[in-house]
């Protein structure tokens, strides 16, 4: 599955803002990214798939968009 990943906030200093990867589900995606970027593993991350926040791993399909986000700090 070819997935688009978008990153936000402080994560843009570790990962590209937008990139494409191959992954079958979100757990696999996060594991692969943490292996490449060990500094990700101790960070709190919010994950959205196609603009829906997910709290447990979900399967991914071709062209899904995964947003990786640190805790919010607006206002």
């Amino acid at each position: 599955m070819r997935i688009q990943v978008k990153t936000f906030g402080a994560l843009t200093e570790i990962l590209e803002r937008e990139f494409y990867v191959t992954a079958g589900d979100t757990a696999e995606l996060l594991t692969a990214l943490s292996r490449q970027h060990p500094e990700l593993s101790h960070r709190k991350l919010l994950v959205a798939v196609n603009n829906t926040i997910i709290n447990t791993p979900v399967d991914l399909r071709d062209n899904d968009v995964v947003a990786l986000m640190p805790p919010y700090s607006g206002g």
Binding site: F8, G9, A10, A48, P70, S73, G74
Partner: protein
């Protein structure tokens, strides 16, 4: 009277003129008795001897607009408010400038005040917005909300 979704984000600081206009334009409405307003302003916080000069806000816009629609609906469902306006800065806002503006109107004060307070809390907590605090020596740190 509900504002359009795409009006929320303002590039740079919220202009004083926008705040004045929003307040003034509700004067013609004879069923309104109370307005509640919240303004967030960039503070020169001190961090390890350095002073914040500006905050650069970035937003996950798609998710933010969706979340804002959800929050707006919940507020209208829970409070008898006539009007609700929310503006948040995107990009660079300097110390002393306004980055966040919430405005509610209702017949009686409790609805406007309650709705405004809840909007402020929910937006700070639930909107996918990130602030990068910039110091005078060109270093930065990412803002965390308390």
């Amino acid at each position: 009277m509900t504002k359009q979704k795409n009006d929320i984000f303002i590039q740079g600081p919220i202009p004083q003129s926008l705040i004045a206009d929003v307040i003034a334009e509700h004067g013609s409405k004879s069923d309104i008795g109370a307005h509640s307003v919240f303004l967030g302003q960039i503070r020169a916080d001190q961090v390890g001897g350095k002073s914040v000069q500006a905050i650069e806000y970035s937003i996950n816009s798609e998710l933010a607009l969706q979340k804002m629609a959800e929050i707006r609906k919940a507020i209208f469902d829970n409070y008898p408010v006539n009007c609700m306006h929310v503006y948040h800065s995107e990009g660079m806002v300097q110390v002393g400038e306004i980055c966040f503006f919430v405005f509610t109107s209702s017949a009686h004060r409790r609805a406007a005040i309650g709705a405004c307070d809840e909007l402020v809390e929910r937006i700070k907590k639930e909107m996918p917005i990130w602030g990068k605090e910039l110091f005078e020596d060109n270093t930065h740190q990412w803002k965390t909300n308390r």
